[in-house]
Structure formats: C-alpha cells, structure tokens
C-alpha cells in the first residue's frame, strides 16, 4: 500500500506497540494481559508495517526466521516445566524466586518463562501465516 500517512504512522506505532506488547506480557500475571494478547499485539503491529511497506522491510525487524521464533517459543514453554522435575516435583510445578536487581525486587518464576514461550509462539505463528500469504501476493504482482 502506498500511503504516506500509514507508512509514517506504522513506523511509530510499531515501536509503541512493541513496548505495549512487552508491557502486556509482563503484567499479564497480575492484571489483564499475558502471552497470548501480548504476542498478538506485536504480530498485529508487524502486520500493519508489512501492509504499509512490504514484507521484506518488515522482515528486517526479525532477528531470525519465523520458524525459529516458534521453535524458541515452544522450547521456552516446555522447558519452563522441566525445572521442577530436577527438584523431584511433578512436571510444570511453578518455581518462584525473588531476584534483587539494582535495588528492584523482581518476583520471577517459571510461569513467566512459560508465558514468554506462549508470546514467542503466537508471534511466530501469526507472522509465518501472514508472511507466507503476503509474499504470495507480492510475487503475483
């Protein structure tokens, strides 16, 4: 699509929405949000960008291929459950710890890692679908 307004807007929106998606992901455990919603927001932002420019320019923002993102997501989600097995607890028992980081009291746990896995998987899947179809369109043109 060739619209200056959309292009300019999508660039700013991408940064904003990326921050927003991470925000949703991290607050998800205590307030509405979470990996599914966060992942969808980021995927939607990238899709918007791809519509404004094209898929190739959108791809620059990705550190790796979408398949790899899915793989990492699944690995993180499944791996978060393994932790507890080393402690002799059943698979996927939540493990929590307080981490003090520059004076901040961070309350971290394996469910957060699991949610990050969900986030990555959702981003990867939506992108792989959109990119496959959009590239098909671009090739036809």
């Amino acid at each position: 699509m060739n619209s200056l307004i959309l292009r300019t807007a999508s660039r700013f929106l991408l940064i904003l929405l990326f921050q927003f998606s991470v925000f949703l992901l991290l607050r998800g455990h205590n307030d509405p949000g979470g990996g599914f919603v966060g992942g969808l927001v980021l995927a939607a932002a990238l899709t918007l960008y791809a519509i404004a420019y094209d898929v190739r320019s959108m791809r620059r923002f990705l550190p790796c291929r979408a398949q790899t993102i899915i793989a990492w997501g699944l690995l993180a989600a499944a791996g978060s459950g393994v932790w507890s097995m080393f402690k002799g607890q059943p698979f996927m028992t939540g493990q929590w710890a307080h981490v003090y980081f520059f004076g901040l009291d961070l309350h971290l746990g394996t469910p957060l890692l699991f949610d990050i896995g969900v986030y990555l998987t959702v981003v990867g899947v939506v992108l792989i679908v959109i990119m496959s179809l959009a590239e098909e369109v671009e090739e036809e043109d």
């Binding site: 205590n30 997501g73 699944l74 899947v125």
Partner: protein, 764 residues
C-alpha cells in the same frame, strides 16, 4: 532395577550412531551390554533363591493408581538369565552373520529394544506395564522378522506375525483391564494374594478366554501356530533369539505368572492342557514333513511350547517343576541348533536338509555344537535334555495315562526330528552345496559351543541349576520347592518309558519316508487349516473395509455433516422433549440493558447477513461484525483478556480473509433450492438445540463450579492476581503447552502449503 530394564532402550536408540564408530566390532561391543546384565542377574541369584526377591516400585501415573513395579523372583530370574545370556551370544553371532548388511544398525536398534522389552515383560509386576512391554516385543519382532524388507515373503511373514500376536495382544489388554477391575489391583502379586476375588467373579471365564487369546497367539499354540514357521523368514539370529529362546516363551511365561491368579480351576485345567497337548503332538508331526532346516526347528519349537503349556495347565508340583526344567533344557539346545542352522546356511548357501550331508569333515566345531544340541533335544543322557524329559515323564505319569501317551508320542517324534535337524546334515557323504563350507569365525561358533557346554555340564551335574529352577517353580506355585534333579534315577518306570521312546524314535527316523506316505492324508488338515482361515479372514476384512468405505466414506462432506447433525439434533431433541421438564428454564428479559439489546441484535443481523451475502467481501465484513460483537460481549461481562484477544484475532483474521479473497473465485451458488431448504432446516434444528442447551445450562446448576479452587489458590499457589492468566500458565499449563503446539503445527502447515511447491496447477 529400573535402570536394568530401561537402559536397553537407551542403548538401542544410541545403537545406530555407535555402530558408525566401529562397524567391525559393533556386534562384540553391543554384546557386552547383555553380558553385564546377565552378571547383574547372576549376582542376585543368592537373594532370589533364598526367597528374598527384589522389588522396585516407581509411581508412574499416580493419579490413576498406576505404578511401574518390577519384581525379581525365581521365575523372572530364570527368564531374565535366558534373555541376557542368549542375547549376549546372539548379538555376538549376528555381528558376523549379518556382516556387511546395509541395515545392520537398524538390526542392533531393534534387537536391543526387543531385549529390553522382553526383560520388561518378565520383570514387571504391574499388569499394565507388562502389557506395554508385551506389545513392544510384538512391534520390535515385526521389524525384526521383516528385516529383509525388500523381500515379499519377509514382509508378509512379519505382517502375519504382527496381526496374529497383535490380535491376541488386544484380547490380552481387555483381559488385563478386566482382571484389574474385578481384582481391584493391577499388581500381579496383589492379585495372587487374593485370587478368590477374580476366580469367584462371574466374568472369570471371560478373563480366562481373553488372557488365553493373548498367551496362545504369542506362544504359537494350535490353531494359531502357523505364524511361527512363517516367521522363519527372519534372519537366523532373530529366529534363534525371538522364536526359540525368548519371545514365543512370553505366552508360556504369562500363563505361568498368572497361574497363581487364574489357575487351579477346571476350565484352566482342561483348556490349557488341551491346547498344549494338541499343539505338542500336531506340530511335532508337522515337523517331520519339513525340509527347510529352520522350519523343522520352528515346528519342534512349537511342539515344546505346547508341552510347556500343557504342563502349566496340569499344574501341581511335579508339572511346574518339569515345566521349568524342560524350559531351561529347551533354551540351551534350541538356540544352539538355530545358530547351527544359521551357520550351515551361511557357509553352504542352503538350508534344505535333502541337500546337506557330510558336513562333519568341513565344519567340525559346528558339528560338535550341533551334535550336543541334537542329542540333548532327543533326550539322550548325559545331556540336560534327558533330565528335562525325565522330569516331564515324572510329571505326566503322576497325572494320567492319556497325557503320558501324548508325551511319549511327542518325544518319539521329536527324537526323529532332532536327528533330522542336528545329525543328518553332518553325517553320511559330502554333498555338493552352493558354497564351499568351512567352519565360520569364532563369533559364530561361540554360541552353539557355549550352550552345548552348558547342556553337558548341567546334564552331568544337574544339582547346579537345581536351586534356580526350584526358586522358579516356587514362584509359580507360591510356596517353597526343593527340587532334586539327577541323571540316574535308578532302574524304574521312567527309564523304561525313556527307552521305549528312544526305540520308537529310532524306528520313526529309519522309516521316515514310509511314515510320511502313510500319514500324509492328515497333513493338509493341520497345515492348510489355520493359515487358510487366516487368509480368509484377511480377505473378509479387506472386503468389508472396502464395502463400508464405499457406503460411509462417500466423499461428500455435506452428507457426513448432515448425517451427524441430524442424528445429534434428533436424539437430543427427543431426549429433551421426552424426559426434561421445560419448566426449569428461567426467562428473565427484564434485566437486559438497552446497549445489550443493541449489541445482541447487531450480532444476529450480522450473522444472518454472513449467510445471505452475495459476495465474498460482504460475507467477510459481516463476519467481522459478528466477531467484534462477540468481543464486546466479553467486555460487558468481565472478560478483558478475552476481549483484547478477540479484537486482535478478528483483525488478523480479516486481513487473512482479504489475502485469500485476492485469489478465490467469486461466490457461486451450487446448490438447488430443495437442498438449501433441507440444509437450512438442519441448521435451524441444531441452532435451536443450542439455544435450549444454553437456557437449560444457565438455569440449572448441578455441581459447584471448580473455579472456586482457582480463585482461592491463584495468588497463594500461583503467585498471580490475574486468575485467567494463572490458569493458563500454571494450573492448566500443560493444556496451554498442547494448544500452542497445535498453533505451531498449524503455522508450519500454512508455511509448507505455500512454500513447498509441487509445481503449480498439478503435481509434478
């Protein structure tokens, strides 16, 4: 102990990669593993014969009361030693026998996996675990029989073995579940302690029938015995291992293991004894007509399996003792003879006994091994087979005349068979064979010679294995047994029977051709019968599968759906109208706000517009409106997470629809008016059913909601305030993991559909 059982699986998985490190020595290296296991089992011999079996329990699925429990008692130890000792020799042997075969790594993979499964079968105390290992032996044996998978006959034999034993396995599963249900436990030891619960139940005959179906198919009892000779398509090490020493004995093992639970009744006695007796006689008779060395051995194995089954059926001290002694003798001589047969095949290029002769000059070591095996099989002193046969006769004469006659006749025939298989190829004049024979490398004669030495050693000093065999018989009988074995019992009735057997056996062997002619009339019945039924059954299955596919799987999606939906709607409506009280439904229109009315009507109109849309774009837009209205419902009723997700998904779906719309042809109307009316009626019926369902579900509350648990524990256990999210990532995290996996699969599916082209406009 769990390490002992499961390490085999681990090694099996590594086997192909290890093989690549050293193809030449792989056989010897892998054989160290069963040797170590054998030593481990031997080291526990003292505890086991002392009556202190090892027991190991690991909670497997605690929620269902399932435990992975292993029990090493006398019976288990006897089998475990057979599995690991013979396994060591077989793997050593196979390294040379199959040397240079392209798929040798796969052979090691499956044979090690088989060995581990077999150990699992004989050590499991839990019926479910036993069944799982049991099926694993069926599956691995399928791959091992079909090892030469480019041969038609090998594939057919593998499939036949799998179908026969697999069918039996299904029956066994039903039997096991039933037994566990009525006995109240899946632990064999617990069931044996209270066997009246199972035997007194009215379903006891059914349990027996199902367990028998499993055991008889696995141990190749008449009329299921035909698969075992066909399975001789397998490479010889496989036949020697699976089809003589281990897997086919699993059925016998199962009967022995379960006899404390199920045995002792009249049905048990007559059915097991009857099948066993029929099998031993029929297959010994069939063995006489074979010319293929391996098939001769296969039929004689079936005969021995029949003998063991009969002994277990008879029950009682003497019969069970005899079964254990006979079993050990058989393992020692039959595996040796199979390995000899393999060596002969390997060296001469043929297994046809009519073409073989005089091999004693060219293959002296193998000849020695074969001679010991054959003489032991014939039941001659001073070999262990003689001790076995004496024990057998002792048990039979303690019972009745009929089984004694069957026993003597079978031994007579097996005497002739032993001569045919083990002595004849080596005696007489040298014959011309496809390859020029000589003794094979040490890896290939080690097995027969080692087992032969044991046959002689145990024959001369029967006191050596006495304790182990007593312990094995003791664990079947459930009490302490002190067996006394001896080569020389004095001049008594048993010795007379043995002498009669030898005399008759020599007579049969010398008049083999005449005997074959005279009794030929019976052969078609026993040979053709069962395998023809099998062929007929397969044809029937194929025929019925084709038939029902034509009728039911007609390829019209809408017909499937129409059928399913109509049946559902009719049944549910009927149930409601016939049984339910419509008065329970509470209608309360008063509490609906104006904005809710508006939203509801928008959703209704949009969904009808979707159906009635004339163009794709209109349908998609209307569908979008439906989606956004659903999202607004989520907003109204306290589900912000859902609303956000729904909004985003709806937007992305719209984008997707537009992408696809780009390509698809414009809407067309394919259906005629009557069809449309019919489908509309089905749709309306289903829709009305769901309206009703919602109304009933919201008016009546049967159970308290399980959400109270989540609400109460979300912060305390899940450390999160957003309960929905805590459920997703913690309480029901495993579900979510499954769901994102589905999502990932769908994504990869889309990618591969678009990216992996097979050429546009058709398959390339």
């Amino acid at each position: 102990m769990i390490v002992v059982v499961l390490s085999g699986f681990a090694l099996a998985l590594l086997a192909p990669s290890l093989y690549r490190l050293s193809a030449r020595w792989a056989g010897c290296v892998f054989s160290i593993f069963p040797a170590v296991l054998a030593l481990w089992f031997l080291s526990h011999m003292g505890e086991v014969v002392g009556g202190h079996g090892l027991r190991f329990t690991y909670p497997w699925i605690p929620a269902m009361g399932l435990e992975l429990s292993f029990n090493l008692d006398g019976l288990g130890l006897l089998f475990a030693l057979a599995i690991t000792v013979v396994g060591t020799l077989i793997i050593t042997y196979a390294g040379s026998y199959l040397h240079g075969h392209p798929s040798l790594p796969r052979f090691y993979l499956f044979i090690l996996m088989f060995m581990a499964s077999m150990l699992g079968v004989v050590l499991s105390d839990n019926l479910i675990a036993l069944f799982v290992f049991w099926e694993l032996t069926s599956v691995t044996s399928y791959f091992l029989i079909g090892y030469d998978h480019d041969k038609d006959t090998a594939r057919a034999a593998a499939l036949q073995a799998l179908i026969v034993t697999g069918t039996g396995g299904l029956a066994l599963m039903a039997g096991v579940l039933l037994m566990g249900q009525i006995g109240g436990s899946f632990e064999i030891s617990a069931l044996a302690a209270d066997n009246a619960a199972v035997q007194g139940h009215r379903l006891y005959p059914l349990v027996l029938a199902l367990v028998f179906a499993g055991a008889f198919t696995k141990s190749a009892q008449v009329p299921f015995h035909f698969w075992l000779p066909s399975a001789m398509e397998a490479p010889t090490p496989v036949s020697a291992y699976l089809h003589s020493a281990t897997m086919v004995k699993a059925g016998v093992y199962l009967l022995a293991r379960l006899s404390p639970v199920l045995g002792g009744s009249d049905i048990w006695l007559y059915v097991v004894t009857g099948f066993g007796a029929a099998t031993m006689l029929v297959s010994a008779y069939q063995a006489l007509y074979q010319t293929d060395l391996k098939k001769i051995l296969a039929y004689s194995t079936v005969s021995v399996l029949g003998t063991l089954t009969m002994l277990i059926g008879l029950g009682g001290k003497y019969a069970i003792q005899a079964a254990m002694v006979f079993l050990m003798a058989h393992v020692l001589y039959k595996a040796a003879l199979f390995l000899v047969a393999g060596s002969i095949d390997h060296e001469t290029g043929t297994r046809d006994v009519r073409q073989l002769g005089g091999l004693r000059k060219t293959m002296p070591i193998i000849c020695a091994g074969a001679a010991v095996g054959a003489l032991s099989m014939a039941g001659l002193p001073p070999f262990f087979g003689f001790v076995g046969k004496e024990a057998l006769y002792e048990a039979l004469t303690h019972d009745n005349v009929l089984v004694t006659v069957v026993g003597v006749l079978t031994s007579m025939l097996l005497f002739a068979v032993a001569w045919l298989a083990g002595i004849r190829p080596f005696s007489g004049e040298e014959t011309h064979t496809p390859k020029h024979p000589h003794d094979p490398p040490w890896t290939m004669w080690l097995g027969p010679v080692f087992l032969g030495c044991l046959s002689v050693l145990f024959g001369l000093m029967p006191a050596l294995p006495e304790k182990l065999l007593s312990a094995a018989a003791g664990s079947v009988l459930g009490k302490e047994v002190h067996m006394h074995l001896a080569l020389w019992h004095g001049f008594n009735a048993l010795l007379v029977l043995s002498l009669v057997t030898f005399a008759l056996g020599v007579l049969v062997y010398l008049n083999l051709a005449r005997l074959q002619r005279v009794t030929e009339f019976a052969l078609p019945v026993v040979r053709r019968g069962p395998s023809q039924w099998y062929a007929l059954w397969l044809r029937f299955l194929n025929w019925s599968a084709v038939g029902q596919t034509r009728v039911l799987q007609n390829g019209y999606l809408r017909l499937y759906l129409a059928t399913i939906m109509t049946v559902t709607a009719v049944l549910a409506w009927y149930t409601f109208l016939a049984h339910a009280d419509a008065g329970v439904i509470e209608f309360n229109w008063g509490d609906i706000g104006v904005h809710e009315w508006v939203l509801g009507i928008v959703a209704l109109v949009a969904s009808i517009a979707t159906v009635r849309a004339k163009t794709f774009l209109r349908a998609v837009v209307a569908l979008g409106v439906v989606g956004y209205s659903v999202a607004l419902f989520f907003v109204l009723y306290g589900a912000p997470d859902l609303a956000m997700t729904q909004f985003l998904i709806e937007t992305l779906s719209l984008i997707l629809f537009v992408f696809v719309f780009y390509y698809m042809p414009p809407f067309k109307r394919f259906s005629t008016r009557p069809v449309i009316m019919r489908h509309a009626a089905i749709g309306t019926a289903v829709g009305a059913l769901f309206t009703l369902l919602v109304l009933v579900a919201t008016s009546v509350q049967w159970h308290p909601t399980i959400s109270t648990y989540f609400s109460a524990n979300s912060y305390l256990m899940g450390q999160g305030r957003n309960i929905v999210n805590v459920i997703l990532v913690d309480f029901r995290g495993f579900d979510t993991l499954g769901e994102i996996t589905v999502l990932a699969v769908a994504g990869i599916g889309v990618y591969s559909l678009i990216r992996l082209r097979l050429g546009k406009g058709g398959d390339s």
